[in-house]
Amino acid sequence: MIVVMVVAGSTVLMRFAPGYLCDAREMDSRYGDAARQELSAEAARSATLEQMLSREFGGWTHGDLGTSRQYDVPVVELILPRLAVTGRLLLRSILFAWALALSVALVSSAGRSSSLLWQSPSTLLLAVPTAAMATLCILSDLGGPTLVMTLLVAARDFKFLDRILRKAWQEPHLLQARAHGLSTARLVYAHILPSITSQLLALATLSLVTALSALVPVEVIFSVPGLGQLAWNAAMNRDLPVLLAVTMFMAVTVTLAGMASDSSDDWQRA
């Protein structure tokens, strides 16, 4: 239901954007008058909302995402090769970020030092726009796209994990167990992690959303041939079918991740 509404909402939003009917190709002097008239006629034919919606839904059910205005090839052909590149980048970044954030949060929450001290580096990282962080990485010749995305996702995740874990450590039964001398590792493994699983699952979806938000600047600045770079190219060249397809793809990914997180939570509760 959400996916259907996302497709419909984005299509409506795009149709009523003030420049939807403008086609950059009409300003290209290489196109002759007849070609320009044909482009205008083509735009006018697909201008009504009903046609757009039926074309979008019809196409999606048949695996057809339309044709790129910029490259004049099916959008699917543009998306598929880039999917693997983006998928690898996202997976690596999220895994490294979780490993980093969870280890630091476990150390920070188990100790007695102030939360502010531990949170300062993540606050600083979150205050740097992704594009600037990526540019600074290139300028200092330090790290690549994975590092930038890992730091960003880890900074956001750490803030939540630190809060969740600090709260968990304050549970009376854990305070008592610590007083009895149970090792920190055993407490974390046997008591804390099982009790915060549902929050961790929700955080996994948030990590994905954070990583997807950073995807475009990172891929554009580091010239990674992934979906983010494709979306940016499409935005710069007003290639709206490609942009709409990539946005839909991202929305479906986030929705499915949210559903998977909810299902795992239900399964765990059961």
């Binding site: 003030p18 950059a24 007003r238 942009l243 990539v246």
Partner: protein, 263 residues
């Protein structure tokens, strides 16, 4: 509380400095060019140097700071008001309306901001003026920022709806506008942090969008537009004042973060 007040004072100080910079340098607007001083370092005439078009960097940074603060604050106020209205209506209105509102929140939350922003921004007419592009950028941010806040308000308003004093007030005959008059002050502890969280989030979103060339149009100065200067290696070799916008942006965001987290 102390660090929040300090952060507020520092932000006010930065606003005053930016206003003073614009007021004192009356001969130099953010778009006026000094063709004799392209990519110049700091001097008496241009305290923070000039960019590749000979525009005074201090004036442009001051204008970008004020523009982004004003835009983000207005967009944040609009999104918080919208979220407050939708959340309250969903909690106190018919159950169908509540379910529909929350479904809309899910739909918007499923869409990654930057992609939607890029989609709307790229669909603007080719002749969009810089002022319009600035207004549209912040308007779109305001239009996309409400769902998370509305969800929080909905939960808070639901709690209020089931509160004993509210049940008693409704049983006593309190109706629509009167209920809202009593509910809104109770939602303020929820709305104020949401407003303060949205301000830095919108500034970062605008900066990222601008750094991709899809933000506020030139010659209007913006954080994102000035971050693009970092791509110019020739400029980086000639003057380190290129780093001024990013340094100031980080300071502003840290101060806003301090204000938001202390509430």
């Amino acid at each position: 509380m102390k660090s929040r007040i300090t952060a507020l004072w520092l932000l006010a100080g930065l606003v005053m400095i930016a206003l003073a910079t614009l007021a004192l340098r009356t001969g130099s607007s953010y778009s006026s060019q000094d063709r004799e001083q392209l990519l110049a370092g700091a001097s008496a005439v241009h305290p923070a140097g000039t960019d590749e078009l000979g525009r005074d960097r201090s004036v442009r940074v001051a204008a970008a700071f004020l523009l982004s603060m004003a835009g983000a604050i207005l967009a944040s106020a609009a999104t918080t008001l919208a979220a407050g209205g939708i959340g309250t209506l969903a909690a106190f209105g018919p159950a169908v309306l509540g379910r529909f509102s929350m479904l809309m929140c899910d739909v918007f939350l499923a869409l990654p901001w930057l992609f939607l922003l890029m989609m709307v921004r790229s669909a603007l007419p080719l002749t969009t003026s810089p002022a319009h592009s600035a207004a549209i950028t912040f308007l779109v941010l305001a239009a996309l920022g409400w769902p998370a806040c509305a969800r929080a308000v909905y939960r808070g308003a639901q709690g209020l709806r089931n509160a004993e004093w509210m049940l008693q007030a409704r049983a006593g005959g309190l109706r629509g506008p009167q209920i809202v008059r009593h509910v809104f002050p109770n939602l303020m502890p929820l709305l104020i942090p949401q407003f303060l969280i949205c301000v830095p989030a919108f500034i970062i979103a605008e900066a990222n969008l601008g750094a991709l060339g899809l933000g506020i149009g030139e010659p209007l100065p913006s954080w994102g537009g000035m971050l693009l200067e970092l791509d110019n290696s020739a400029m980086l070799l000639r003057t380190s004042w290129v780093y001024l916008p990013i340094a100031l942006l980080i300071v502003v965001l840290l101060l806003l973060e301090a204000v938001a987290t202390e509430v």
